[in-house]
Amino acid sequence: MTSLPHVDPPAFPPPYPSAAPRFAPGDAVRVATGHAPGHIRTPWYLRGRVGRVERICGDFANPEELAFHRSGLPPRALYRVRFTMKEIWGERAERGEDTLDAEIFEHWLEAAEG
């Protein structure tokens, strides 16, 4: 059972816009559970967890490609996703209502219910 945080959409236009973002602030998203070798910027502790998009950070070259001297292009949409501590740590959470925001690239996210 997922635990989703409250998110107020940003009250200002994003300073680094994204050309064609798949998700919008407030959308529920699940972080992929997959494993891939290389320079992954998606922390292990968030894989498989469901949160809400807090804001769109912009389009950025894919760090998984950049780390191997490739261009990382086309750029990928990057989101700040908010999770509840209960969603991340379950009953072991220090305080379930506290939250955590992390930047996750679009190709690590899928739409979730909520």
Partner: protein, 222 residues
């Protein structure tokens, strides 16, 4: 009698001729990355791409950045509501407006309120807004801080001397990709009418990471 009392008319391992122990220095072999740094630096000089003086100047410029720069930004946000709004909307643009060189750093300013306390960590490495705050403290780069800040942030804050009531939500920011974060703490009560310079004096590096909150001088002692 000097030192531990034994006589000094013979050689001692690890003691200087005057009888003092040698201090540890760069005694170990160079690491892989130290060797690579030296090699790249020497190649840059040999090929005429950069001079030693230019490299030294760049190191000095980075060392000159300090939390005092970030404190000026926070103080301006406290004193000027319109600047505060611009800082929250686009942190880098607001800092550039004050004359700080962001060099592509994408800064997100997150604001503490009566009901939200923000804490910044980079669990994957040690991402930090160096252009604005200078080099991060050593503890920021430790595995202990990086893992515990996301698992038990309230205990970590308590160890820093900050006990938060349950009425305050802790919002941890894991700096995982292209953004960098600065916490804008709440302006302490009792600072009405203060100058920006005096306000900036209350804002420490730890306040802008989120492991502390600004305190008036009289409440610091005790």
């Amino acid at each position: 009698m000097p030192h531990d009392g034994h006589d000094h008319d013979h050689d001692h391992d690890g003691l200087s001729p005057s009888g003092h122990p040698y201090r540890k220095d760069n005694d170990g072999p160079l690491t892989h990355w130290q060797i690579m740094e030296i090699a790249v630096r020497e190649l840059l000089v040999e090929k005429g791409i950069a001079t030693p003086a230019e490299i030294t100047a760049q190191v000095a410029a980075m060392d000159a950045r300090s939390p005092a720069d970030g404190a000026r930004v926070v103080a301006r946000a406290w004193a000027d509501p319109e600047f505060r709004a611009r800082l929250i909307a686009d942190g880098s643009a607001a800092c550039t407006e004050m004359g700080f060189a962001m060099d592509g750093l994408k800064l997100v300013a997150v604001e503490n309120t009566a009901s939200v306390h923000n804490l910044v960590v980079c669990t994957l490495c040690s991402c930090y807004p160096r252009n604005l705050l200078g080099l991060p403290p050593d503890w920021y780069k430790t595995r202990a801080y990086r893992s515990r800040a996301v698992i038990e942030p309230r205990r970590v804050l308590a160890e820093f001397g900050l006990d938060l009531p349950d009425s305050v939500t802790v919002r941890v920011h894991d700096s995982t990709a292209d953004m960098r974060y600065i916490v804008v703490p709440a302006r302490p009560a009792g600072t009405e009418g203060w100058s920006e310079a005096d306000l900036a004096g209350l804002v420490t590096r730890d306040c802008m990471i989120g492991v502390a909150v600004p305190k008036l001088p009289e409440t610091v002692s005790a």
